[in-house]
Symmetry: C3
Subunit: 399 residues, 3 copies
């Protein structure tokens, strides 16, 4: 556990990072953020966690609302967002819109303003429809900006992307913070091999934003990132372009391969996880827009049948033995489809999953702090000064 | 934006208003409140808003619950109530009762006590059944009064009517505060013409409490209030009596006309909105009480067919051009049925609605402050002193 | 109402009770707790209530979450838990899992950690399946203990049993605190006769944890506890053993009889309430595990038909007249099935129920304070010192 002196040192380090553009801004995609900004999120997340360990309150809001809009089911992300808001002093208010609806511009703008009169932050999960989630978030952000400019809102709520069709920044950042801690610092990541691979699941339509988020973020740290999937299970081409550019800039590499074995070979990190092919997700979005239930069911059947051709894409002990010293860090965003546990055949063998239970929980434990850090950096122009003030005040979380 | 000196001046003005009877009392119908009390709600709402703009905390509750009971769907009012409670320091707890049920005395009294052990305020929306909503609220208020008197409850929660079958005071008060600000002060309202008119909507069973709330409140300010609707779409006769009495006392007028054009002619304010005829709502209540689903569907069909005879009752640019200088303030409680946007044919033309987007959002933005003001005035015997104390303490909302 | 001097005296008395083992621990079953621990819960509950009456804040948490997991419908217990958390400064976050599911080990452990990153307390109601509820709670408690030990969680949330298949400690403790207050002190309870009896209800599958909780707790106070039920409506044998042992140790008695009349004879307290036979609940659990809907419906029919044989098991005025001076304290956990009010034939006659309305509401009013006391005692090693600190600080709840 870090003591108060260690926390003060971390706050000092934070001062060296330029975060001005995050102030009163939103967090949509990691690749829209500078290296300093990404580093600042990690730094603030670690500081907030250490403060909590030392029973120091991080309550910067006396009152205010955190609005959560989940257009897809969620327990983990919902609780992470609620935890982050609570830590900072915001109360949660859920906006429960129908899950199957794809909302349109006018309504989105109106609702965004109507729920934001006391809102300091809006967290949105909208990952089900290709071309829709990110667009929806942008529309909300523009609407509350106009609302603030027009004097409708007293404050401009910050938007945090809790998963869209393109990126899942709170997941990939929590994952990365876990990797940084696991390998003892960001300076130790250069040259590490990461295998982001597809894996079989008996379910259908899992979003692409996790693999996209991983290849879009992990390539920034000088690592060798490999994406593996069966033919047809492509991710968005523009995100692969991001990954290539990042890799080039960061001194690492990005490539796509055709088998888990090739990806796992000598890997330091493996992330085997199911997702739906981009083309299928695109078709699905069109079908849902036309409200054609029969076509939707047909697509699901085709997709499940196609998935079933690739049941050998599963994270076995045998595959794990191919990794660096047989000891790669196994990662997953949870919940995983575990063979013989949560399904007959799934993404990972039970013995592999069980061996990594504690690291997996730790991986997840960074998410609330990452979200809180994103909010914090959007709300304070001088985050280091504000954190210093909290440390000086030393208000206790449990009195 | 008002500065702190301006806020102090507003607090001074508040001292001239007599609000003793609001203390530990409920807010059911605007016409049960004195002119001073109505003015005090506006004044406190404006003060709370200005305090928020100046980042001054209005958190008067260290802990405590705001209970919300919505017997009809609601996003806007739900968020307004949650915002008001949050601003004052109360946490929200929803009581989710079945929507289709009409609760009976014994159960209401028991539940009212069971949810109120830590409740400082109860907000209720129950607008669907004529003769039921207001009665339900009265029963709840009596139950918690008894609970307090009998030593069951440590505090007597205040009841705020978030819409009943008779009045919608938080809506009409927010609307009025918008009007006051739009015209630069309550002293400028004398002689202004207000057109509260029915408008066509492809939906059925919209409550009467909005038009009733408007004619019951707006007639107090010396304005000329005109109600227009097709034959058969009457509102409650007793509320029209209230409007007439108010108009007489306030130096304005109230009358009913048979066409939108007549109502819009030279109007300063227009409020075109759909509602169901009183007689239909009465019949519907009886049918629901007997649980006759077939009769309910038949009534819906009849009612929709009847509505459809009056599709020309829609707020067009042509009608708007009849208003004072063609520039009347267009109002709506939102969401509106917009022709070609949210429905094929509705209450208002898209171009009219779009032109008034910012004023409409501002209109809605007063509601959380109006609700907070109602709670505040019920909780503090000397509201001006308490506000002065908050200003002196100057605790920051965002630290 | 107790004044501040009286509260300070109560805090002094608290110091004499040994509560060390409650610190960082859970509350599952009253019979796992020592007499001092039970007394401490009552004492802290009374202190918290008196503090609230005196407008003294008990907010010991600056932030933090109270997680509620209700695997069965609940309004009363939900609001009691929310109230307790709110009083202490915790925000509520509901984990809404499917009600019909019986969750399994792996998933339970994962979810328990995923929702607990900021959790200080977890309240669980899981009373529907014999052999499941208590086990589920134990699994959650072990999971968060491991999570804390492994560095996944920064704090170890305390678990409060809000009703399991075996005990309903927050109910029985609230009931007992009501009895203590009604009879003017725990020292007046020796020799009082308590009739915990089955009563007819037209519903099926009511949990056994209320009668079990009552006989398991009330036997500790030197009272003569009688359990009465029709043949076949047995409670768990191991809880009857607890009752016998408690009675022996506490100087009272425990026995089972076959009629309400015998149980009511000269009783000081009567608690007539419906429950399902243990054997039926066991069978039901097996059926649900196998997902056999037809068998479930058949069991329900059999069970309802069996219940109907015992409609004379109802709390009438005639039976009440058999009690001590015809004035026994009538108790119920609410809601009751009242003949002619909430059902045609039920647990109690309307005239009896109505006569005890205020005592029944008071009985319920202790629950939030009992829950808050359980949390308080689990969170502070020296609860008296912490309460003394709150009294000295004298922060106002309503400022």
């Amino acid at each position: 556990m870090k003591d108060k002196a260690a926390i003060k040192k971390m706050v000092e380090e934070l001062k060296t990072l330029k975060t001005d553009d995050m102030y009163l801004n939103d967090f949509f995609l990691t690749w829209d953020q500078s290296d300093d900004e990404i580093a600042a999120v990690f730094q603030v997340a670690e500081i907030l966690r250490a403060m909590r360990e030392n029973n120091i309150s991080a309550k910067v809001f006396d009152s205010g609302l955190g609005i959560s809009i989940f257009r897809d089911n969620s327990t983990r992300t919902r609780f992470s967002f609620a935890s982050a808001c609570n830590m900072l002093g915001l109360a949660i208010q859920d906006l429960d819109e129908g899950k199957s609806q794809i909302a349109h511009g006018e309504t989105v703008r109106e609702t965004a303003n109507m729920v934001s009169f006391m809102a300091d932050v809006i967290g949105i999960r909208d990952d089900m429809y290709i071309g829709k989630g990110h667009t929806y978030m942008k529309t909300v952000a523009e609407a509350v900006q106009s609302g603030y400019d027009d004097g409708v809102l007293e404050q401009r709520p910050t938007l945090v992307n809790l998963q869209c069709d393109i990126d899942h920044p709170t997941q990939s950042m929590a994952d990365m913070l876990h990797v940084i801690n696991h390998f003892g610092g960001v300076e130790n990541l250069k040259g590490k091999k990461v295998a982001m691979t597809w894996a079989y699941s008996p379910s259908y339509g899992k979003p692409l934003s996790v693999p996209q988020g991983i290849i879009g973020l992990f390539t920034r740290f000088g690592m060798d990132v490999v994406l593996a999937h069966p033919e047809g299970y492509n991710v968005m081409a523009e995100v692969e372009e991001v990954a290539k550019k990042n890799a080039k800039k960061g001194g690492g590499s990005y490539k796509r391969v055709d088998s888990m074995a090739e990806a796992f070979k000598d890997a330091d990190i493996v992330y085997p996880k199911s997702w739906a092919p981009f083309a299928v997700m695109e078709e699905r979005t069109k079908i849902v827009e036309h409200g054609d239930e029969a076509a939707l069911r047909a697509l699901e059947q085709t997709c499940l049948a196609n998935n079933a051709k690739f049941k050998e894409w599963t994270c076995t002990e045998e595959l794990m033995s191919l990794t660096k010293d047989g000891k790669a860090l196994y990662m997953h965003c949870l919940p995983a489809d575990i063979t013989g546990v949560s399904c007959k055949e799934g993404e990972v063998e039970a013995s592999v999953f069980d061996r990594y239970l504690v690291p997996l929980y730790k991986e997840a434990s960074y998410k609330p702090y990452v979200i809180a850090a994103m909010i914090f950096l959007a709300k304070f122009k001088n985050p280091a000064a504000k954190l210093q003030q909290l440390l000086d005040t030393e208000a206790e979380r449990i009195r």
